[in-house]
């Protein structure tokens, strides 16, 4: 059997606007895939096509071997989906709603009841099961949405901005929940939050202008940063002039940046074109020349900067 999800040249046009422009990738079981991109990049549209809500204009996708256009019912059975903003029926209670989902997913009677109770416990909904959904807090509503998505223990879980609009505690809870479900499943989640990708995902795809601009592990993403392995020196302003001269000579003036420092001193940031580790060299030099340093740090790269670079140009990597 091939990959759980195979997406081939997926396209979606709305009139003159091309929202998704030839997206292809495959995802294996056990993967938590982070889908990143600015608003309007085509993340949600791709997810909507994958879950069978929108028909693609071109290309197709297969879930567990079932084509989403020709065999959509079988594909939908394998998928649990949390749409953006977790829409729910406000007049229903979580109990009634989840029971409805259980029945539509083919469970009935005692089995449905047991499964609803099990899922409610998993997402800690027991206390509010009989309150109308409209009276629940945002965090509880999101949990009802998640419960609905995982009710039939799907092999593929598609979560469109699962933590958007939640407070930090609620975000943490939802992330823990996602982490607890990742084995043997494919989880695709979209987010704007870069730390979330680092914390949860084993793979990240950045999409901009309807195209994939990068597809790698979250760790590799940081390595793409201009600042990966850069060295930051904190020192007194009087010292900075001299040190800057030495560094500029060795690494090139364009690679030594003077940063506004939060303390009274100055910060110098040294980068290299090939992003090789240079901390050892610099600290040796510092000892030899007896620079008066207040601090010496290695930068690991900034995800937000990589994100900005990749999505701003929107070009293929």
């Amino acid at each position: 059997m091939g990959a759980m999800i195979e997406i081939e040249n997926l396209q979606k046009r709305f009139g003159a606007i091309t929202a998704v422009d030839g997206v292809s990738f495959t995802v294996e079981r056990g993967t938590v895939l982070g889908f990143l991109g600015p608003n309007g990049a085509g993340k949600s549209t791709t997810m909507k096509m994958l879950t069978g809500f929108l028909p693609p204009t071109g290309g197709t996708a297969r879930i567990g071997g079932h084509d989403i256009t020709t065999d959509s019912l079988a594909a939908k059975q394998l998928v649990g989906y949390l749409p953006e903003g977790a829409p729910l029926y406000p007049d229903m209670t979580p109990e009634g709603f989840l029971h409805f989902i259980a029945e539509i997913r083919g469970l009935s009677g005692a089995k449905a009841k047991a499964r609803v109770a099990e899922v409610a416990e998993k997402v800690s909904l027991q206390k509010v099961m009989r309150q109308p959904i409209e009276t629940l807090s945002k965090g509880f509503k999101r949990r009802v949405g998640l419960a609905q998505a995982i009710l039939h223990d799907p092999q593929v879980l598609v979560l469109d901005e699962p933590t958007d609009g939640l407070d930090p505690n609620q975000k943490k809870e939802v992330r823990a929940l996602i982490r607890s479900m990742q084995q043997d499943k494919v989880i695709i989640l979209s987010t704007h939050i870069l730390e979330e990708v680092e914390a949860l995902c084993s793979r990240v795809i950045i999409i901009a202008g309807g195209r994939i601009v990068i597809d790698c592990a979250p760790g590799e993403l940081a390595a793409k940063s201009r600042w990966h392995n850069a060295v930051r020196l904190e020192l007194a302003a009087s010292e900075a002039q001299r040190v800057r001269g030495v560094l500029a000579e060795q690494y090139g003036a364009e690679h030594v940046e003077t940063l506004a420092s939060e303390t009274s001193g100055t910060s110098l940031l040294v980068t290299t074109r090939d992003r090789r580790p240079i901390l050892a060299e610099i600290s040796q030099r510092a000892q030899k020349d007896q620079w008066k340093l207040d601090g010496l740090h290695v930068e690991h790269g900034r995800l937000d900067e990589v994100f900005h670079e990749l999505t701003r140009t929107g070009s293929r990597n």
């Binding site: 709305f14 929108l54 989906y81 749409p83 729910l88 409805f100 539509i104």
Partner: protein, 246 residues
Amino acid sequence: MRNTIVLFKRELAGYFATPVAYVFICIFLLLCGILTFQMGGFFEAGQATLGPAFFEFHPILYIVLIPAISMRLWAEERKQGTIELLMTLPVTLPQLVLSKFLAAWVFAGIALGLTFPLWLTVNYLGDPDNGVILASYVASWLMAGGYLAMGACISALTKNQVIAFVLAVSLCLLFLIFGLPQVQEALASVLPGDTLVDAVKSFSFMTHFSSIARGVIDLRDLVFFASVIGVFLFLNAIVIELKKAD
């Protein structure tokens, strides 16, 4: 089939989860009462029948009340975004369209059925032709179904329930007035030949409703209502397919 039943149950229960059902039923019964006893002159007529005093008002009554049921069917799903949830479940579009319509139709049937005290009254007071009354109930329910199918289709066009209501009232009104004598006369003076006028008349709910309500369940009238329901539900599915993402 199983899916349709599950969806139908959720839809129907939805009416009773909110005050919508109770308000609707109360107002419907109140209006029926007022129309029958005040305007219809039920007692003054001195006849043991429900036709002139009760059923005759249904075409007009439904023009306002049926769109009140149908306006939320799809507009609300689209507004809340729950349509995305619904359509990514392993169900087909025909199942969704059918279950929503059937739930609304059964709900309208429940409201109609609750007018039974009038039937008891007329049987207590005299000796009516219960066959005609039964046929009239069937006609009334079929007409409600036709209006509901139109309203459901209109509701799929917009996210705004007020727009859905106003447009549905207009469309229902259009299908009613074709059959009014005044409109027939006006059409006869404009359109060449009687065939066209008759054709227009045959599209009127009034024509087919009165025909069944007289106590004769003619196949042509049944086919008419079934076709109206079928055509508008089919259009409903197409509209949803085209507009769901907007």
